[in-house]
């Protein structure tokens, strides 16, 4: 007989089941979805969930990387290897190429974060993708906390927080008019800690920069930036070598490292559980421009 006490799902199993449901729902109802893959930990988890949702069949949509050209080399290697394993198509939307053709212009500060938006929108339109899966989580940031799982965007890719579709039960409304598309966030209800616990449980490989390593860094506004071809200290500014790791992987000019000795998944989980800073607050220069930085970028059509 059914004994309710035996039928309990752990938090990771519940989140996995919900994310898989979302992948299948979009694949069933929307034409030409695409999965946005950055090589970061969230998109790695997302790709794993997509794989599970359709197994033993192949993932029925391509993967797209909006490539700022400001990459950590470890991340690109990782991306190509994973795409090959899964046998999915990779679409690369290149910011460098968009600069060369004059679609966007290099910013005075050298950051290409904001330039991703027009490049992403153009690639969605060119390929007629109706839905783009993104790895954003609601625990990341205040504006994200209010975004639906299906985030409806108008023809300019803009998010309008006041007119979101109500999302009730598991009844998602994915209807779009021609020219419109939606962003879908299957990891909406996951936290940074859930993501790391899932990486551990599934033995997922993640780029080595997520783990503690010695790196030449310099201090800018209290954040530690790694010295690389895209990111250099101001003239005369001292650099030093520290044991650091990255909590997020974004544009190499904007993403800061944190001091850490966590050189394994288990240690990263322990560190995340006791961290007193949000991952964006600790590492993302781009969210520091203003209190409402993310809200503004989302309105422009950002991820």
């Amino acid at each position: 007989m059914s004994d309710a006490a035996n039928y309990r799902l752990s938090q990771l199993d519940t989140l996995e089941a919900e994310s898989i449901f979302i992948f299948r729902e979009v694949a069933a109802e929307l034409e030409r979805p695409v999965l946005l893959f950055s090589g970061g930990k969230d998109s790695i988890v997302m790709l794993r969930l997509a794989e599970k949702a359709f197994a033993p069949a192949r993932i029925p949509f391509p993967v797209m990387h909006v490539d700022t050209g400001h990459n950590f080399p470890e991340v690109l290697e990782f991306r190509d290897k994973r795409v090959q394993e899964l046998g999915v198509n990779l679409v690369v939307a290149s910011v460098q190429e968009a600069i060369d053709r004059g679609l966007v212009h290099e910013q005075p500060d050298g950051s290409r974060n904001r330039l991703q938006t027009p490049v992403l929108l153009e690639a969605l339109e060119e390929n007629q993708f109706r839905a783009a899966f993104g790895g954003a989580r609601r625990d990341e940031e205040k504006a994200r906390a209010k975004e639906r799982i299906y985030s409806f965007r108008d023809e300019f890719g803009q998010w309008e927080p006041k007119s979101q579709r109500p999302e009730v039960w598991n009844l998602f409304n994915g209807r779009v008019h021609p020219g419109e598309n939606i962003r879908v966030f299957p990891l909406s209800n996951w936290t940074e800690l859930d993501v790391w616990e899932y990486i551990a449980r599934e033995s997922l490989e993640v780029p080595s920069i997520y783990f503690a390593h010695r790196r030449e860094v310099f201090d800018r506004d209290g954040m530690l930036y790694g010295v690389n071809e895209h990111c250099r200290p101001a003239p005369g500014q001292a650099t030093f070598t520290e044991s650091v790791r990255y909590r997020t992987v974004g544009d190499a000019t904007l993403t800061a490292a944190v001091r850490s000795d966590a050189d394994s998944v288990e240690k990263v989980i322990a560190e995340t559980a006791t961290s007193r800073l949000t991952e964006r607050g600790a590492t993302r220069g781009d969210d520091r421009f203003s209190e409402a930085a993310m809200e503004d970028r989302k309105r422009e059509g950002y991820f």
């Binding site: 006490a5 919900e18 033993p56 039960w169 598991n170 209800n189 809200e295």
Partner: protein, 416 residues
């Protein structure tokens, strides 16, 4: 560790944001940078103390106007449980937002201000929570510090609420006196309310027994996606993917597929990690049958002697969520489980006044945030249960095909 989904409701003045801010702070979920930014903002405004409400008020437009625009989701975890909190604003758009937040909730957390007692909004929130069949209700009597932690005040509110609750279908109620601002009875027992011997709020949330809330009796498996790899390794493979909405599935079970009524046996139930012995809600699985039947998305797998109603005529309670009113004769798209059809509104039986529970049978339309009972006729049969029996197979949304907007959330009362 499992997940508890909570929907909070209350108006701006009840101290709801402060209560959530306090929970985030006391469970050490608030991060240093968030706290610093809130302290900075409080200081700039010249507040006397750190306004914990700023931890949850997210968008600039909201901070400027001091209101909450939309449902915000918060996450906190203790060693025992992970909590997902759908924080819904109490003002104008209340119905739409509360339905969104509470439709999947295990527990509704309702706040009242101890000084004011039950107000219209508290009754409305309690009604909506029970209408959505949220299994557990917790009433926090907040701002106890402002009534000198008086047991008399607390008892009066409890009596008043219990009296009101008898008119609703409340399955489990817990009332807790707190001061969110000062942390009384939030995590540890308040020495200032020795007369209260119930659990603290966090203890209650951590220990609430929810496993028996789900339906493990009626097998309901809406087919979401048919998996056909068309690869050499899986040449004849055909699997039905979906999320279980009720009951327990296992290999060997005799099943029926609706609407065709054809029967077969389950050959295997699996996840991507391999076959499972038993599967239950809310697992996402792939089911293979022994016979090759013609099954597609929108079909439902159930047991031969326990099936949902195959119906085109529905009677349902709906929350209308669009600016343009609902009127009889209107044609809309309906999404129910994984099945989509068209529907026509045959009749508006009554509009419900959520404050008095009065049924206005003379109503000829439903406006934004109105609740009413309607009759629908669908173009295709739906495979439905009463909402009171299953919150997933008893629910639907209505979509305006012109604007593509979700205009109503519906709960099936009867079907034929």
């Amino acid at each position: 560790m499992d997940i508890l989904r909570i929907a909070t409701a209350g108006s701006v003045d009840d101290g709801k944001s402060t209560l959530i801010g306090r929970m985030l702070l006391d469970t050490k979920t608030v991060f240093q940078d968030q706290l610093e930014s809130v302290e900075r903002a409080s200081m700039q405004r010249g507040d006397d103390y750190v306004d914990l409400a700023l931890l949850t008020d997210g968008l600039r437009a909201e901070r400027e106007q001091g209101i909450t625009i939309d449902v915000a989701y918060r996450y906190l975890a203790t060693p025992r449980r992970k909590f997902i909190i759908a924080d819904t604003p109490g003002h104008i758009q209340y119905t739409r937002n509360m339905v969104t937040g509470a439709s999947t909730a295990d527990l509704a957390l309702i706040l009242v201000d101890a000084r004011k007692g039950l107000v219209e909004q508290s009754r409305r929130h309690a009604f909506l929570a029970t209408m959505l069949q949220v299994p557990h209700l917790a009433l926090c009597v907040n701002k106890m510090d402002l009534v000198d932690f008086s047991q008399e005040v607390y008892d009066r509110i409890v009596d008043e609420f219990e009296d009101f609750a008898t008119r609703l279908n409340v399955r489990d109620l817990r009332v807790i006196p707190v001061s969110a601002l000062h942390g009384d009875n939030m995590v540890s027992h308040s020495p200032r309310m020795p007369w209260y011997d119930g659990p603290t709020l966090l203890h209650h949330l951590e220990n609430l027994y929810v496993a028996s809330d789900r339906n493990f009796i009626d097998v309901r498996f809406p087919v979401q996606f048919v998996i056909r790899p068309k690869s050499l390794a899986h040449h004849d493979y055909r699997g039905y993917a979906g999320q279980i909405a009720g009951g327990v599935l296992k290999a060997g079970d005799e099943v029926m597929v609706l609407p065709s009524g054809l029967t077969s046996r389950i050959a295997s139930v699996a996840t991507a990690d391999g076959p499972v012995e038993e599967a239950f809600a809310p697992m996402s699985v792939v089911v293979q049958l022994e016979d090759e039947l013609d099954i597609s998305r929108g079909d439902m797998i159930c047991r031969v002697n326990n099936a949902p109603t195959v119906a085109q005529d529905l009677e349902a309670l709906v929350c209308w969520m669009a600016e343009e009113p609902l009127e009889p004769g209107q044609k809309l798209a309906i999404k129910h489980t994984t099945r989509t059809a068209r529907a026509v509104v045959k009749e508006l039986r009554y509009r419900l006044d959520v404050n008095t529970l009065h049924r206005d049978e003379s109503a000829d339309r439903l406006g934004l945030n109105d609740i009413g009972r309607i009759k629908l006729r669908t173009t295709q049969p739906l495979l439905c249960d009463p909402y009171s029996r299953n919150r997933l197979t008893g629910a639907f949304i209505l979509i305006d095909e012109r604007t593509n907007r979700t205009v109503a959330a519906g709960m099936i009362a009867a079907a034929s």
